[in-house]
Amino acid sequence: MKLYLKIWRQKDASTPGRIVDYTLDGVEGDMSFLEMLDILNEELVSKGEEPVEFDHDCREGICGTCSLQINGEPHGPDRLVTTCQLHMRKFNDGDTIVIEPFRATAFPVIKDLIVDRSAFDRIQQAGGYISVNTSGNTIDANAIPINKYDADEAMDAATCIGCGACVAACKNASAMLFTSAKVSQFALLPQGQVEATERVQNMVRQMDLEGFGNCTNTGACEVECPKGISLTNIARMNREYLSATLKG
């Protein structure tokens, strides 16, 4: 199929970017979206032009590296997939596809379609961990019984790959789905209780410092999340934060 691509090109963080038009022929439905961009880049390189920079790593939907706002939606029009898992069969011959970086003040553009998502790392570093004795006396995690429901909920929250689609989809560029998933995966488990009070406060504080927006409960993040992280996590974070703050 033949596609008309409108791609955000930006030399670096300090240079203003713009949309550049490309026409790409010979795209097959079995290609992934990133393979389609690979082909475009091969063409650009063979013509002596600068290739389009975009983030990618595992290309099997588990690493959270790929991003892209495709036709106005993070990871494109398909549900529960990352951009690397998006197939070109979701598009039709002659389609125009607008490809932009994830947009948020806290995710500044580095180049073309690559944004700096280290704000997520800093939120995680602020409290997304448990302190475990690793000096040889480590207790087997399975030694503490955990009921099935909590274990499942914690696992569901832990499947967040930190790609940033929630921020990209949110009209307020809010990072509450990400932060709440990282709070929840520990809040639900006994191992997470020791630091529970400081964790939620520190992670929310860091989230605010990074300049993410607030949550309006539109639910856009949940719909666009490639891992199906639920809004119940945001409610849990709100609950945890309220009780942590009241405890002082």
Binding site: G72, E73, R103, S174, T216, G219, A235, N238, T245
Partner: protein, 221 residues
């Protein structure tokens, strides 16, 4: 202090002030419905509300403060949220993942706020002037006539009805959303959300019915 400054605290303030205003709507619509079904009771209730010192000097200021807090915090959040995305998308398909009402609370809220200005002009300022400026004697029978007469002009009735539609949209998202903001998302959520949606339709519909009813049934004397 951290609670006051944090983004989550702003959510709590929006949710709690919104819930407080919802409870006021229940009282307001109940008394107003009496103007259709029992003018005498409407006069009695309105007179009580107008002259009871607790209502006048404690509850009324709290209510006005509730409106101000909800509006100011909503505006602060809107400004902060816009700053959180300094460069916008060339193409943003908001309708693909969220309902229109949830994405436009600021606009439905601003219409409701503009309506409140008209509503204050129509009733509250008149009431304050009647009681405290002109110092008229108490008249427990005037409220029904004053209310019905207000809806004689077609334009005012239409403005009220349009505002109630926007109020309905605002409540449709806001009411159910307030419990999520306060951290409640459990087995009761589905039932509560259903109740909140019904409330968001029924209460504004009742207000619109009252306005239209009085417009169509003017007092002839």
């Amino acid at each position: 202090m951290s609670l006051i400054k944090s983004s989550l605290a702003r959510k709590y303030v929006m949710a709690l002030s919104g819930l407080f205003l919802v409870t006021f709507l229940i009282l307001h619509v109940t008394i107003n419905l009496a103007s259709v079904f029992s003018p005498d009771f409407f006069n009695e209730a309105s007179h009580f509300m107008g002259y009871n010192p607790i209502v006048q000097f404690l509850m009324q200021p709290i209510l006005i403060a509730g409106v101000i807090v909800h509006f100011v915090m909503g505006f602060v959040l809107e400004v902060r949220n816009r700053k959180a995305r300094d460069v916008g998308y060339v193409k943003y398909k908001g309708s693909a993942n969220a309902p229109w009402v949830s994405r436009n609370m600021i606009y439905s809220g601003l219409v409701v706020l503009a309506f409140l200005a008209l509503h204050f002009y129509d009733f509250w300022i008149h009431e304050m002037a009647y009681k405290y400026v002109e110092a008229n004697p108490e008249d427990p029978t005037r409220y029904y006539y004053e209310t019905v007469e207000k809806f004689a002009p077609f334009w005012r009735t239409i403005l009220y009805v349009v505002s109630f539609v926007l109020l309905s949209l605002h409540l449709w998202h806001g009411f159910a959303s307030s419990f999520q903001s306060m951290g409640a998302n459990n087995k009761y959520t589905a039932g509560f959300t259903k109740f909140a949606k019904i409330f968001a339709v029924v209460v504004p519909l009742a207000f619109a019915f009252i306005a239209i009813y009085h417009h169509l049934n003017p007092i002839t004397h």
